[in-house]
Amino acid sequence: MLSIRDLSAGVEGKTILRRVNLEVRAGEVHAVMGPNGSGKSTLAQVLAGHPAYTVTGGQVRYLGQDLLAMPAEERARAGVFLAFQYPVEIAGVSNASFLNAAVNELRARQGHPELDAMEFLGLVDERLKLVEMDRSFLSRPVNEGFSGGEKKRNEILQMAVLEPKFAILDETDSGLDIDALKVVAQGVNRLRRPDNAIILVTHYQRILQYIEPDHVHVLFDGRIVKSAGKELALELERKGYDWIREEVAATQPTGA
């Protein structure tokens, strides 16, 4: 479904990702872990098409298409979704009108008629239940004044409404209380299908108890330095990243 080959990228002349390789097949969940600043969000943003990041090498194929050649909105229309680590507040635009614009844009591209107000509310009501969000969030400006956890839930609400094929959840678990984490995880699981896939960026193995990954990768200094099964997450939780750092130092004695 998604094939990342030797992807290098940076921002303002600074290299962040260094030859990242990753294969994601339909139906899979991949967890990406790694210390602060290792490039996890950069990878997520580059895949979503953020214009501030420059791709300096490599390529990404997504469902047979050259993902990096597509502008951000084209990627979204092709089923790519990024749940932001820091969801953006948008003054004066209600959550409902935002979701409505997004849904109808997608439908238009897929050759479906626009949803009328009733159909739209029906859809949103159902998805609100999935993430246990109150309807009052619809009339509020997007993310404005939302608590940290509410913002994260709102990301998953958007995901639930837009039904992407390939979703990247960038630390959606951070800032969620224990119950909210369960709700969000259950919501995500309900959206899983054999023909879609998820990359889950996280620092904690707790969420991986609810959304079980097929693969766990460690991103370190812009590289994927380790890939294994879900037991790797437990090991990282126990041991931290020092042993990874040592391993990396051992295999690359000359440094980066």
């Binding site: 953020h50 979704f81 635009v93 614009a101």
Partner: protein, 446 residues
Amino acid sequence: MAALTTTKDRYLAEFEALERQGALRSPSWLTPLRRSALARFAAAGFPTTRDEDWRYTNLAPLVASAFRPAEGVAAVGLLPTTLERLSVGATGWPRLVFVNGRYSARHSSPGPLPVGVRLSSLAEAMTIDGDVVARHLARHAGWDANVFADLSTAFARDGAFLHLPAKTSSETPIELLFVATTPGVLAQPRILVVAGPHSRATVVEHYVGLTDDAYFTNAVTEVVAGPGASLDHYTLQEQGAGAFHVATVHAALEGDSAFSACAATFGGRLNRTTLTLRFGGESGQGALSGLYVVGGHQHVDHHVTVDHAVPRCSSRQLYKGVLDGSARAVFNGRVIVRPDAQKTDANQTNKHLLLSDGVEVDSKPQLEIFANDVKCTHGAAEGQLAPEAIFYLRSRGLADATARTLLTLGFAREIVDRIAVEPIRAYLDGTLRARLRAARATKEMS
């Protein structure tokens, strides 16, 4: 300088000609007002950028053109479909229609109105409601400082008159539609609203240009609110691309009265609004707001003065501008708190969204506070659309242009959403969306 003199002299000569023809038909009380206003205009002439109040608004193009009152212009027929399209309210709203500044009885429907409430053309009011008009027309404002108000008073002939006796209230808003159809015309509508004690009404002034050639509208609105009265005033300005639009609004408020003004500006080449709110009695409330959405070489200037002369009044100003192309905005918000005006609560906000690098903004608060127990705040901000917000919307599948439009609407929402009258809110919202759509189409073409 020579050109300025010539143009002024032309207006003076125009006045003498109209007087000779008896076209001004003044009641006796009006003649000295006209004469003194004309004398002030003759002495001052049109302001130049050397005048502090006009520093950023250059009137040279206005002064350089010759505009004439729509004297010989035969009453222009407006298609019913045109009127329909331009109506803000539902059918059934009382409505006066003016074509090129002149009242058009056949397009107007001044009723139904509650018993006692008077709505008519100003010309008719001068004869029928002479004493009310005489008591208030050009009596409340410090007109001496405003040449355009003087010009209006000197030539005052046509316009609208609304009188609400004590405790009357018009539940349906009153719509005044000013249509410009003919290039070169000088239209000087004069609007007088006299609201008796504890009366209420909503008035919409709607300016529309059906020509993109140059013409000049010099509108003056006087609002007199008695004790406990409540008046909401809207201005929707959709003048033609070549129009000069100068508006003077003066509201005199007595105790416990409330006045709100919301001015939406979309059209016109050069716009200047001089709005003065004067509290003459305690516990008055004023809420002034404006939204201007302009591009190309449009120029919008708001000069707002709020005069807190008495204690315990509150005033709010919120003006927001969306500027594209090479548009220019001027905002001067003056708040005077006189020594007696303790417990004044005044606030002022002016924000601009800059959609291109070619725009220019001159925003200046001017707080003159002479009392000590007061709360006065002001703020100004300008900025562009946030790239992070654009990306967020694009990452959900919205096209770049759609994202920008949505964010721009979001910026304007604060003004649009505070409009309590649904048809007015809906009309403004529709106009705003159409305007942004048109701007986008122009951008995509170039």
